[in-house]
Amino acid sequence: MSVVALPPAGSDQSAPETPASGPRRPSVLRSLGGSPSAIAAAVYLVVLAVLAVTAPLIAPHDPHAQDLAARFAGVSGEHLLGTDEFGRDVASRIVYAARISLIAPLISLVVGMALGVPAGLLAGLRGGVFDMVSARISDTLLSVPAIVFALAVIAVMGPSLTNAMIAIGIVFAPHLFRVVRGATMAVAGETYISSAQAIGASTPRILLVHVLPNIRAPLLVQATLLMGFALLAEASLSFLGLGVQPPDASWGSMLKAAYENQAEAPYSVLPSGVAILITVLSFNVLGDRLRDAVAARRSQ
């Protein structure tokens, strides 16, 4: 995959910029090669995704199997990370919980993309009234804190992780909208776009063939950063008891339970807490380095 032209990156920068057109340059992903932290983050995330997908094969125990007599057992060969308040194997639960902890932010991301990307493309390409209206809608959504909006949606639809993550995705949309809009505007003035329009190419075709490839990189940056944010949002909602419902668990709900039992088992907050920390850190580091890479290429 190689990106020819790179529009500006960054969440809130929409200044149009002339895309570079010239000899092919190494792709953004490849240019990460220089950053060991980004590579470590990427590898970690891939391994995590594999773990989550293959949880039933990997988890040493049934994540829901309770053994009240063995509650808060310490670390042992039998229980690699000890047990929780119901005597369930923490290691197995961490692996299973990775599924929800990754799928939940994905829901938000997909919703945010579904709303933000098409709107951003159209606004960037067409401008005019559509641009103005969608920019105001975007301002509106940006003025509502994500968690607060999620609470409002929960009040209407009832507590459910999916509903909450959809709500967070809606509040995400403006961030993606702005990036896409800015990037689209940057390429919209290019001659090849006007010539494509001149020979009668349809708008969807222009967007798909000419514009979308050019905004992939900034979109990737934004998506990566938002994954980290959404994972934290999921943890927060689970902490409030409004996220995933037992016996299913996410790292957030595990951390919440450990927190409740802090007096009895002070170290039980570590596995889930560290899992959240490292994963969010990985998304953030990867996003930052990607952004740096995009910026570096732009200034080339």
Binding site: Q66, P159, Q245, P246, P247, Y259, E260
Partner: protein, 526 residues
């Protein structure tokens, strides 16, 4: 009021001018932190005349007649009851009524009223006020109506005498009159639409601030028994999270708090005083017998056998929740001796699975329902444990967590499958628990569970007002219900654990009814 309010003053920082010296920020921040920290840790100094109580559930309403199960504690300071319970012995003692007499057939109850008592709005307390208040409580839309149901007619004999004419034997009414049903609302306020948050009673305190998270009270000087009130102000603060309550207590944000048994060791190590006492409170699973499967008594018995009560007591509650398969533990007279020893009372998931198979529920076609728990830590934990234990017997369940305030309407409307809740089975009276849950028209009997002969047993018990007199029929009744598969499955009777700051005296866990704080004193720390 506050001793030494200026002790903790510290240099002011002007945020508007910080732009020029932001690089000083860390230094300033540290200085600020240490100057604040040096104020010391006794956050309680500011509140020595206010008793701050931490409680898991919140005041859904301050209207006694509309109260849910856990609102009583918030109403007691404002409303005096006709009869009271001695907090230690549980015996009936005079309240707004000085004397009472139940006729031998149990069908009339004569009350002699205290004279010279005023309500907080200046209205006079008399027989007419009692009649008006009781009649309001009897209205069908009131939650108190079921407790007062036996009252047929209220006769005002003279300003200080009331005679209650009963349709059925009313031995339980004495207990009812120590609870919400016996709280007398000022006649001037009876129809006030704001009664839910502006209560007017004849009790020791007036409400100064009400929100759903906190209720503040201040002594009312016109109280008839003013000398008994030692605590000028009371603040009841709702914290549904157990660990938050514990931390609040540890850091002196509360003077006392209601906690859970598993927290006892931590309380003791933190140097707090601990009061522990079992009461008539029982953790239960309330089943809706109108639901498929749950209407079958054998299924309900199987569910009871699937519960690992010892495991819950030993591990989840740290030996603080006495396992029981019947509503009353040994300490109380309706307890049926020997019931726990029966083989069909024992924890036996295999046996439970067998019974379920006989009833038509197999792994291929499992019994499934939703377990609902209020959003209070300990019930959620209990629900999660039950889900796994029912699972061992092949029962599939979903968990649903609802706001604690929704539980009472849910119970009454029957919009649930199974509710994990605590029930105070002795309040107001053992027979009212039975009438609410086991009699055909009971308000919390959505599946119309009933057994022949139960009504007669309740009437027999209610001809007596003493526990000894009620014992025979009550034991017979609980035995019958157990054999039929109870719609309310008891799990265990928790120790009531109250953590108290050193130096705070005058709190006791009441045998009956709810906590009263008017006699609390906050002294020097030990």
């Amino acid at each position: 009021m506050r001793p030494g309010p200026n002790r903790c003053q510290h240099p002011r920082i002007h945020p508007s001018r910080t732009l020029h010296r932001t690089w000083l920020a860390p230094v300033l921040g540290l200085a600020l932190a240490s100057s604040l920290a040096s104020c010391g840790s006794d956050g309680s100094t500011a509140a020595a005349t206010t008793f701050r109580w931490g409680y898991p559930s919140r005041a859904t309403t301050l209207d006694p007649h509309k109260a849910g199960q856990f609102d009583l504690i918030f109403q007691m300071p404002v409303y005096d009851t006709l009869i009271k319970n001695d907090p230690e012995s549980g015996a009936f003692v005079p309240g707004l009524a000085t004397e009472w007499k139940l006729a031998p057939d149990g069908k009339t109850l004569d009350l002699t009223l205290r004279q010279g008592v005023k309500f907080q709005d200046g209205a006079t307390f008399d027989a007419e006020a009692v009649r008006a208040s009781l009649e309001r409580g009897k209205r069908p839309e009131m939650n108190a109506a079921s407790d007062l149901e036996a009252i047929d007619r209220i006769e005002v004999v003279d300003p200080s005498h009331v005679r209650l004419h009963l349709s059925r034997p009313g031995g339980h009414l004495l207990s009812v009159l120590t609870n919400e049903g016996g709280m007398i609302i000022s006649p001037k306020a009876l129809n006030d639409p704001d009664l839910a948050h502006k209560p007017v009673g004849a009790g020791p305190y007036k409400v100064t601030a009400y929100s759903t998270r906190e209720v503040a009270y201040e002594t009312w000087d016109g109280y008839w028994n003013r000398p008994s009130v030692t605590m000028p102000r009371v603040k009841m603060i709702t914290m549904s999270d157990d660990s938050t309550r514990l931390r609040a207590l540890e850091s002196h944000q509360l003077d006392a708090a209601y906690l859970r048994p598993a927290q006892t060791p931590r309380l003791k190590s933190a140097g707090l005083n601990v009061l522990i006492k079992p009461r008539t409170l029982v953790y239960t699973v309330l089943l809706n017998t109108s639901r498929p499967g749950l209407k079958d008594g054998e299924v309900r018995k199987a569910l009871s056998q699937a519960i690992d009560r010892d495991g819950i007591d030993k591990n989840l509650a740290k030996d603080g929740c006495q396992p029981t398969v019947q509503p009353f533990i040994e300490a109380y007279s309706p307890h049926v001796p020997g019931l726990e020893a029966r083989p069909d009372a024992a924890y036996d998931p295999a046996r439970a699975k067998e019974s379920l198979a006989k009833a038509g529920y197999t792994d291929a076609k499992p019994l499934s329902f939703t377990i609902t728990a209020p959003n209070i830590t300990q019930y959620q934990v209990l629900a999660e444990a039950l889900q796994a234990q029912f699972g061992k017997a092949g029962v599939k369940t979903e968990l649903q967590v609802v706001d604690a305030a929704q539980v009472n309407p849910m119970m009454r409307s029957g919009k649930f499958d199974a509710l994990v809740i605590p029930i105070d089975v002795g309040r107001p009276d053992p027979t009212t628990f039975v009438a609410d849950h086991y009699l055909k028209n009971g308000p919390i009997n959505p599946g119309k569970f009933h057994l022949p002969g139960l009504d007669e047993l309740v009437d027999r018990a209610r001809r007596e007002s003493s526990p000894e007199g009620q014992q025979g029929p009550m034991r017979e009744l609980f035995q019958k219900v157990f054999e039929a598969g109870p719609p309310v499955i008891p799990i265990c009777a928790p120790d009531n654990v109250v953590g108290v700051q050193p130096g705070v005296t005058g709190i006791s866990i009441p045998q009956m009814g709810t906590f009263a704080f008017h006699g609390v004193r906050i002294g020097k720390k030990g």
